[in-house]
Amino acid sequence: MAMPLLHRRDLLRLSAAGLLSGVSVPWFEALAHASVGRPRGKACILLWMDGGPSQQHTFDPKPGGQFRAAPTAVPGIHIVEQLPQLGQCMRDMVLLRSMRTEINDHYDAKYLLHTGYRRAPGFEHPAVGCIASHQLAAPNSDMPAFVTIDAGYDLRLDGGRSYRNVPGYLGPQHTPLAVNDPARGLENLRAAGNDLAARLELLAAGERGFSEEYALPNVNARQAAFDRAVRLMRSPRARAFDVEAEPARMREAYGNHRFGQSCLLARRLVEAGVSFVEVFHRGWDDHDGAARNMAQRAPWLDRAMATLIRDLKDRGMLDDTLIIWMGEFGRTPGNGDGHFCNAWSTMWAGGGMRTGQVIGRTSETGRNPGGTIEERPISAVDYMATLCLALGMNIRQDFQAPGQRPVPMVDHAAQPLRELLS
């Protein structure tokens, strides 16, 4: 994929203009040598619909359902007619229609689908984005490995407490960088006051003295992190956080909705070397029935996601970027007014997978069409294993949790969807 990578020469030039002017600092040389490498696997954009979106009002319509099924670009595959642009992208998408995840409680289900583990007392498993940061991030990059983007909410704020991505035993350095508002970008990125250069110069001499007197790994780590932050402020890649830098035409294509702008920001970040972006949009817990709410959401959802897929494809990035759309569970068949973890859908796109297919099948007839799985049930660990494999990780490895307790990256019982991976 096309990435504006900084070269060592650029780095040296940037640094010469800034904090370290005229100062030779040993750790800086090491950093410059390491340069800014590429991430080691594929990137992921997780579009999280917090509260649980209805499968029958999106990607698994049923005869006689509230929303009508419409044909897509792939003969034989139908999704709801409210998502026509996504229908046109079907060749680049895969529908997983047979998720079976056993938990109908919001927070516990969010935990399960973010970590691949059931919540256990006194123990925090790392979120998949933090695992990606740990496994895939380019060393010494001036871009963070894992970013979350808050796409706000539309209709109401329910669906239980939000899940906070926790790195657990992988270490706090894998905590995501949070963008609270896509229009504002990354907080504190711009300098306050007008004499930053003078203040940095005042700081540099003292820092050098301290690192000579206290030549310790943690002191070096702090000075390196400080330098990375200053480099990010000055880096052309930090422009990635600014959606305003995008041509008006492109911003419009993604839609004026905050979700669309979040998708655009996600694309810019992946382009700049971020490994994992989670865009979360809240308020999908449609206890009064999904039809009316979904009718309102469909236009901006359809537009933003279809544009994201097309845009990544145009830039030659789609094969290296996996898009996943999902919530913590689906909704009851029919009007979708309840939580439903027995048979629900997620949508995957790009990522170099065998796209243009449907995996799994739910019942079409009977008393409760869509209430049961007829083919290939996908458990939470199957899902997690497939996701990690698709991003290029070795899932057969253990992390060391407190108490000298080895915890597998993904539960060994997982049966990844090999039919999806090429």
Partner: protein, 650 residues
């Protein structure tokens, strides 16, 4: 994490490279060399849980006693030793994994050389047990223990700290905040010969000591994500903070550690009168007290033993049987608690929510629930760790009985567990690591020292300040943490690991926040993203908490290793660019009202942040900056709080 691992490597290399007195470098020792192999290969069947063939291989006497076929090893004669015969022929271990050639060679050599064990010299506690000593005496004994080990390891101790290092370190450790400019100047200028001991006494007498200890324990006890289920989706931060404050107030009131733990273990009533009620739901599940959560926390925090594995299965590494865990949990079997109340009911609550129906527990029994995977449905009688089950009257409340045993002077874990945690707090490493993993197969680095600190703590009636005063008055605590760029990295790591040099630690979020609030003279210092106030309008009210909680979330440190630097780009950008850190300090304004000279103001800023006066070149650089920036003192303050020297506890 990586720091942890490299430290282990260094320590591992050290133990192999160093020659213990009385043994040649090549001679294998039981504890150091042989036991790790036995643990990995043999103890699963010949250890605490199972003794196949009547053989238990955990200690030397047990090995010599042997099983039904006779002693496992004969000194000096490998060929007739059963241990060697069985492993040489690969008869043992019976599985697919056999001992490697190197492991076999080690065992054979160990037998041939006469089954050598480590000398037990440093297990001597130096001070008479059962008697409380003067803190100075205890401090001297601490130094003796540390020096003994350093000598054995052929390491030198680092020189003593200078006054600035000591002042800043001890103030941050005991009062959780940098000293003010006035406090710093007073100490640095004092000529009193015992000014360090005086300062320790002063800091211990301040209510801030209790506060700092209380919030440290709160951090250890509170999980990263607090339960919210019983609280309308909101996390019980307020209650958790009140719990930390409560611990602090008890200390300030002069309560001893056994009293505090007894109160926690026996609390019964409403949270409005008893802030420690929240303990049970914090360590429970879904905002409710659970017998297993209470047992796990009691074991880890008050007894220093890890029982989380034994909850679901016998723990082969720690020799805890699943039964022993549930026997401890049985004391909490009738305890019902949520965010508001804790009380003991008549019958144990049904722990099986949706699963199969379980038999009803009787009296002091608990029935293992299905969530434990193994032995679900089995009834276990209450028992103290490591002893037979006890006869308890059904009507008698069970928790006070447990509290009696936990807080008794004779309890083998209680005093040592607190001493080890306290040591860990000051030195970033316990005498036993992990800090709650006291057991035979994980011996302390300084067994005699841990024994002595435990004895002394118990003899003082579990007086927290006595223990802390003793540690802080030791030369060991008062050594420098300087590590010049000219010194050898590995030597420094080894010296620090052996407590011959103080580590450089990262300020916890609480300490950093208090220090910033003090130097900016702003009790409500708000470093949230500047759009946080408008967030409620955009539906983020649930996401963005008050300034203090958001600060704690952002600047959190590694609880397992205080030397680990964990901040990344978001923290750095906050410190560099948050407008609040450039928009003035009320403390500075108040000082400027006294009409000080520019030189004085710069000195005041250095004293307020780094607890020292600026050097000549620092004065010069500050003057140059001020001349070019229309006397922007807050720019100098910004520079100082962005210094590594500010963030680290050196």
């Amino acid at each position: 994490m990586t720091l942890h691992r490299s430290l282990f490597l260094v320590l591992g290399a050290l133990t192999i490279a160093v020659t213990p007195p009385g043994a040649s470098a090549q001679e294998p020792l039981f504890e150091r060399d042989v036991l790790p192999v036995l643990t990995k290969q043999c103890l699963g069947c010949h250890g605490g849980l199972r003794q196949k063939g009547g053989l238990d291989m955990r200690t030397m006497p047990l090995l010599l006693k042997g099983g039904k076929h006779g002693p496992a090893a004969k000194p000096g004669d490998a060929d007739t030793s059963l241990l060697w015969q069985r492993i040489a022929s690969d008869e043992m271990p019976p599985g697919e994994t056999k001992l490697s050639a190197a492991e076999k060679a080690l065992i054979k050599q160990w037998i041939t050389k006469g089954l050598r064990t480590e000398t037990k010299k440093d297990e001597d506690a130096h001070l008479t047990p059962g008697v409380k000593h003067d803190p100075k005496e205890v401090a001297a004994a601490i130094d003796k223990h540390i020096q003994q080990r350093l000598t054995a390891l052929k390491l030198d101790a680092a020189p003593g700290s200078d006054d600035v290092e000591f002042l800043r370190r001890v103030t941050l450790d005991l009062n959780g905040c940098v000293p003010t400019a006035q406090e710093a100047a007073a100490f640095l200028d004092s000529k009193a010969p015992d000014k360090r001991a005086q300062l320790i006494d002063k800091l211990l007498a301040s209510p801030r000591f209790g506060e700092q200890l209380g919030r440290t324990w709160r951090e250890w006890i509170c999980p990263p994500e607090l339960p919210s289920d019983m609280n309308g989706g909101a996390q019980p931060h307020k209650q958790a903070f009140a719990f930390g404050d409560w611990i602090g107030k008890q200390i300030t009131k002069g309560a001893t550690w056994d009293k505090i733990v007894r109160d926690i273990l026996t609390v019964d009533g409403q949270i409005k009168d008893n802030p420690h009620v929240i303990f049970y739901s914090l360590v429970g599940e879904g905002g409710k007290a659970t017998p297993d959560g209470s047992a796990r926390a009691t074991a880890s925090f008050f007894l220093g033993v890890q029982m989380q594995c034994a909850q679901c299965h016998d723990d082969p590494y720690r020799n805890w049987a699943q039964n022993e865990f549930w026997a401890l949990a049985a004391f909490f079997g009738r305890t019902q608690g949520d965010f508001n109340t804790v009380t003991d009911g008549k019958a144990p609550p049904n722990m099986s929510k949706r699963g199969p129906k379980l038999p009803v527990a009787k009296g002091a029994e608990i029935v293992i629930p299905p969530s434990a995977f193994k032995n679900s449905g089995k009834a276990v009688q209450a028992a103290f760790l490591g002893s037979k089950s006890i006869d308890l009257a059904v009507e008698k409340p069970l928790r006070p009985v447990l509290a009696d045993w936990v807080t008794a002077k004779e309890n083998p874990y209680f005093a040592k567990a607190f001493a080890n945690r306290t040591w860990f707090y000051f030195f970033a490493r316990g005498l036993v690591n992990p800090v709650d993993d006291l057991r035979e197969l994980n011996p302390p680095s300084h067994p005699g020292l841990l024994k002595m600190l435990g004895n002394e703590f118990a003899a003082s009636g579990f007086d927290v300040k006595h223990l802390v005063r003793s540690i802080c008055n030791s030369e060991t605590y008062q050594r420098t943490s300087r590590a010049s760029v000219k010194q050898d990295r590995q030597a420094i790591a080894a010296q620090t690991a052996a407590f011959g040099r103080m580590p450089v630690r990262v300020m916890t979020a609480d300490v950093l926040y208090d220090s910033l609030r003090q130097v900016y003279g702003d009790p409500k210092l708000d470093l949230r993203a500047d759009d946080a106030k408008g967030a409620a309008a955009m539906g983020q009210a649930a996401q963005i908490a008050d300034p203090y909680i958001e600060f704690l979330r952002r600047f959190g440190t590694n609880e397992d290793d205080a030397t680990d630097f964990t901040h990344g780009i978001p923290q750095m950008l906050t410190m560099i660019n948050h407008p609040r850190l450039l928009s003035g300090s009320k403390a500075l304004d108040a000082f400027r009202k006294t009409n000080p000279t520019p030189e004085h103001t710069v000195e005041w800023l250095y004293l307020s942040t780094l607890a020292r006066r600026p050097s000549a070149s620092e004065r010069e650089a500050a003057a140059k900056y001020l001349a070019n920036s229309q006397n922007s003192y807050v720019g100098v303050l910004w520079m100082l709080v962005n210094r590594s020297e500010f963030l680290f506890v050196r």
